[in-house]
Subunit: 344 residues, 2 copies
Amino acid sequence: MDNPVLVEVTRGDQVESTHRGAVAISDAQGNVLFALGDVETPVYPRSASKPIQALPLVESGAADAMGIDEAEIALACASHSGEPMHTSRVAAWLQRLGLAEGDLACGPHPVRYAPVWEDMIRRGEKPTRIHNNCSGKHAGFLTVAHHWGVATAGYERIDHPVQQAVAKALAELAGLSQPLPWAIDGCAAPNFAIPLSAFARALARLASPKTLTPERASAARRIVKAMTARPELVAGTGRVCTTLMRAGGGRVAVKTGAEATYAAIVPGHGLGIAIKIDDGGGRAAETTIAYLLARMGLLDPDTVHDIVNPPVLNTREARVGERRPATTLLDAPLPDLSGRAAAQ
Amino acid sequence: MDNPVLVEVTRGDQVESTHRGAVAISDAQGNVLFALGDVETPVYPRSASKPIQALPLVESGAADAMGIDEAEIALACASHSGEPMHTSRVAAWLQRLGLAEGDLACGPHPVRYAPVWEDMIRRGEKPTRIHNNCSGKHAGFLTVAHHWGVATAGYERIDHPVQQAVAKALAELAGLSQPLPWAIDGCAAPNFAIPLSAFARALARLASPKTLTPERASAARRIVKAMTARPELVAGTGRVCTTLMRAGGGRVAVKTGAEATYAAIVPGHGLGIAIKIDDGGGRAAETTIAYLLARMGLLDPDTVHDIVNPPVLNTREARVGERRPATTLLDAPLPDLSGRAAAQ
């Protein structure tokens, strides 16, 4: 099935580029309340699955045993920008475990936040594994291995108990049987492919934890609260995830992933939202998630206007076009959550 | 009409992202020898139209009058990387015209070639308009205005004689009537929207200049020769356009454009090739043009393998997937030009 066009990019009075994709909104029972496109073929949620990849850290008791605080839980769910608020916390966390940068399985990559990157260039510094946007997730994995007394080396391998715990949590939340298909993510950890409808269901179960065991319910609440309480740690200065969570004022936790995925957890309504843009164009995933959340009344439309409908600027800073939701989204019969009392 | 998937990006054994698009291959008579997808709706060729935007510079006599050499003609067709070989030549060219950086209508943007950009950061330098990847095109526009004795200020406006000359050349080559629809490009100059079939025809007429007036035919030959003789000036170190033209050994001139367009001029066979990827994903345009040229026997497949079919690497440099032409391209009944003698 061909996915519909969700986002258009114009130049002058003409559409220049289009992005197709799929959206699923589910409740915790697995009822798909809204769908666009193919929500049944497995896709890799990539970093949008980090809130679920963080579950073993909390539900295993590792977080409590190791004194992991709210900021560190937010970092375990983060694709961070490599700012000092991120890297200093990950470094201190590793040190508390008696581990170091070299114990992280993720490789280095350039720092996303330009002022920090430019400072590093001026000082002749190279990025380390702690600068990897996934370093908090990996610190979380290491914490679980340490807590369980299993080898920390190899924690990123599919057959390691930590990754098996992630797979089990994801499959149970999504209502899928194991083994899930998987591949290797940019950070060297496994990423499990699941249908968008099942991913939305898994997110909804984090939003509506009364359907879960007490340990998992408590872990889900802590993870969602950490993300919404510390949105600057989940992404960074000027990033879309951070802006959306601030605009939501605690009503929604969001997480982006590579190749244009997005996840949203709506605790007050027990809903999960999952997005994948076919072509991996992140700009379209950003417009789609911001539009959906604003239309559903979960955040202030004015605050997110420049994510939903930003201008296309030329190098003289003149407006020469715009990015905008396509008709498929504009006409979508979305649930209106603005007037509904929190159901959970 | 829905364009077909041209390029896939895999992770593990599964397709993670797909890119749709359209391709037209035409001869100078406007016969579309091969087409995929919608080649009749106007698209913005963006910088892929630079070889045509450079025509007035040469056919007006401005290039000869001002002593414009082959390197400068290549720069007039360039989206350059801001390396010293590019910026020093544009600066000297402007100086010869009695003009300066401030006369360029394009704005500054970060330099694409990382070693130069990092040097600028270390020295605390800001990019200038000369660093704009289009600065050679703009120097060409200024040269024409200077030669004609018209105002150089405002040369980027749609009603300026230079832009009208560009529009006329493009419409004549493409076989379209004026006025052409247009919008403002990233560099503040107009960009004209034309169907891919007409764009391919225009490129074919540059490849087969015997169909043109003597002035235009001579200009077309000089432009194509300059691009293929100085491919490092048309793009830069490590860039795809540069690599493809080197691999072609003079058999093909290529030019990329923003939002995933590509143009190819095949002088030995009098053909033009035009590509637009729907979603603006440049990686897919690169795979498509490299695959088409290699399949048609116009360049060495081994040299371009890592453009046609590059690995997807993670941050540990491990291969976790690949980018590849989709079945639509693999099964395409393309003309085989490897054994044919040059027809022009």
